[in-house]
């Protein structure tokens, strides 16, 4: 049985439309105009137990709304979802004990008390015996390397330490399904890396299912063999990350070490100039024109060194999010691995 099963899930909101200024305010008082926003439209996918899946999409694409429906925080307008074999919005005890949601920009720990106090409450709420709670706290604190921070007031912790403690609190009841919304938001590179290592270890140790959204592509690259791409509320890709890059990045990155300074206008004749710093330059070249362009670069610019590589995933996804007609580009609807 799938850990997460989503079928034709939709969510729409009604929002008031108010024109600016006094006139708009008065008109709004007399006649409320409302608009329906389709935040999520007929999304379907399954996640198997133990899988780590990345959930990608631009801001407002519908990622967080989907996560909220999967955790039972909001009721879907249409469609069906089961998580851990339960209907989320019924919020039965068995369901709540099986899942956790970590919101990178929100905290559940009490600000003025040591994290241990919040953990004590969580242990009681989930009916974990004090001895077992102490054992789990010790294990998770060791994995997260926060043994020394649990007795300090949360407000005194750094962002990275706080996020680790948040994660510890969210995992104390040992959920089988982790829904993570930007868990590394605002963390420095080392803290992000530690968080990723922890998530991988937790996933392997407890065979937990993880559905993760992140704007840091490094999170996705490091953790998620499979990604879901949501755009304007619609699921437009479900497959491997490498498949996504291959399909939507029909260009290569060409790194040049030039033998003498070259004007940017000259470089632009060979492709999009991504970066130029002294004698180093990075060009983006269409895959179909790569051979011809390389020949021209070698004959006209005579570089000291030249290298060709795939563009970074961040760039590919970033460009994808900027596409105005992404859904149309991806039509007809994609199946697994983006096979249309």
């Amino acid at each position: 049985m799938a850990a997460i099963s989503v079928s034709e899930l939709s969510k729409s909101y009604r929002v008031g439309v108010k024109q600016p200024g006094l006139g708009g305010a008065l008109r709004y008082l007399l006649r409320r105009e409302q608009r329906e926003i389709a935040a999520v439209q007929s999304v379907s996918f399954e996640v198997q137990p133990g899988e780590i899946v990345g959930f990608l999409g631009a801001n407002g694409a519908g990622k967080t709304t989907t996560l909220k429906m999967l955790t039972g925080l909001i009721r879907p307008s249409a469609g069906r979802a089961t998580v851990a074999g339960q209907v989320p919005f019924e919020r039965k005890r068995a369901f709540l004990e099986s899942i956790t949601l970590v919101l990178g920009q929100k905290q559940q720990l009490m600000w003025d008390l040591p994290a241990l106090d919040s953990l004590k409450v969580n242990a009681a709420v989930y009916e974990i015996s004090p001895r077992e709670a102490s054992r789990r706290i010790g294990e998770l604190a060791e994995m997260l390397d926060v043994q020394g921070q649990l007795a300090q007031p949360v407000r005194k912790l750094s962002l990275g330490e706080r996020m680790k403690c948040e994660l510890l609190a969210a995992l104390l009841h040992r959920p089988k399904i982790l829904l993570l919304d930007e868990p590394t938001l605002g963390l420095d590179v080392n803290a992000q890396d530690a968080m990723r290592r922890f998530l991988r270890e937790y996933n392997q140790r407890h065979l937990a299912t993880v559905l993760l959204t992140s704007h840091y592509m490094a999170d996705i690259v490091a953790l998620c063999p499979r990604v879901l791409l949501i755009h304007e509320g619609k699921l437009v890709y479900d497959g491997s990350l490498s498949g996504l890059v291959e399909r939507f990045a029909p260009y290569r990155q060409v790194r040049l070490e030039l033998s003498e300074p070259v004007e940017p206008s000259v470089l632009r004749r060979f492709g999009e100039v991504e970066a130029q710093d002294g004698l180093s330059a990075v060009l983006i070249v269409e895959r179909s024109q790569l051979t011809e362009t390389l020949a021209r670069v070698l004959s006209e610019l005579k570089p000291r060194d030249l290298g060709v590589s795939d563009p970074p995933v961040e760039r590919v996804i970033g460009k994808l999010f900027l596409e105005q007609n992404l859904a149309a580009k991806l039509a007809p609807p994609l199946g697994k691995d983006g096979a249309s």
Binding site: Y13, T64, K68, T71, G72, L73, I74, R75, R91, R93, L96, E97, I99, T100, L101, L103, Q105, K106, Q108, M110, D112, L113, D117, S118, K120, V121, N122, A123, A124, V125, Y126, E127
Partner: protein
């Protein structure tokens, strides 16, 4: 039981962190002590149902009793809904009401030392009003206060549910407070009101929140049976309506900001 113990212990620790704020709330609730001077002075020169000393005792008791029936769940709940922070509580297998109850109960404990100090200062300023309530009166008043606390809590918690529909649900509490101010005995003992008004107020929860518990402490007695019945009816009705609004409110909750 383990849940209640853990919630109360941690909530008390949290409230102690906010003791300065709580003490400021206590000091901000000295309206009865201001009215004490006004009414005591007026009673010396006019015909009132209470003597000057009785007025002093009455308002000192109002100050104390009010500390126990002061409820602030609507502000906390509104903030949780508007900010989306209610989500964390909804994700746990514990109804959020237990956390609110624990924080209200433990906050009373933190208030006590300053309340006691203010009472001592009052008796130093008005030594002629010094008296000790009878143990039975204290017991009955305490029982009534527990009922009053529950009724008031559930009435305000019911109104808190409006936060699912409005971002300014707490504004309704301002309206409630105006009625409470006049009908609970907070600014004047109900003895000074006309008889028809008094009879009408007896059907509302207001006089049982302050006036009757104060009368019990003063040894003036109170209709305990009716008090229990009226408070149970209002509190029970509020509980039922709250449950109904809670279910519908969750349908509307958008967990915004999270």
């Amino acid at each position: 039981m383990a849940k209640a113990r853990a919630l109360c212990a941690v909530s008390l620790a949290n409230m102690l962190e906010y003791r300065a704020e709580i003490y400021l709330w206590v000091l901000a609730s000295v309206l009865p002590l201001i009215l004490l001077g006004v009414w005591a002075h007026a009673a010396e020169g006019g015909a009132f149902p209470l003597s000057s000393v009785e007025f002093i005792r009455y308002f000192i008791c109002v100050f104390v009793v009010r500390q126990f029936s002061f409820i602030w769940v609507i502000w906390e709940f509104e903030e949780l809904v508007v900010s989306g922070n209610l989500s964390h509580q909804l994700l746990q297998p514990l109804n959020p009401v237990w956390r609110f109850l624990a924080s209200h109960l433990t906050e009373r404990i933190v208030r006590l030392p300053l309340v006691a100090l203010v009472v001592v200062i009052c008796f130093c300023l008005y030594p002629r009003a010094l008296w000790l309530p009878r143990p039975l009166d204290v017991l009955q008043a305490s029982g009534l206060l527990v009922l009053a606390f529950c009724a008031r809590f559930f009435l305000q918690y019911m109104m808190s549910m409006l936060a699912f529909w409005s971002e300014r649900a707490a504004a309704i509490e301002e309206l409630w407070f105006v009625v409470h101010l006049f009908l609970s005995g907070l600014i004047a003992p109900l003895d000074v009101y006309p008889e028809p008004v008094r009879r009408l107020t007896e059907l509302t929860p207001f006089p049982y929140l302050i006036y009757h518990p104060v009368n019990l402490l003063l040894g003036r007695g109170a209709p305990l049976g009716r008090a229990a019945l009226v408070l149970a009816a209002w509190g029970g009705a509020a509980f039922v309506v709250q449950r109904w609004l809670w279910k519908r409110g969750l349908d509307r909750y958008s967990a915004m900001g999270s």
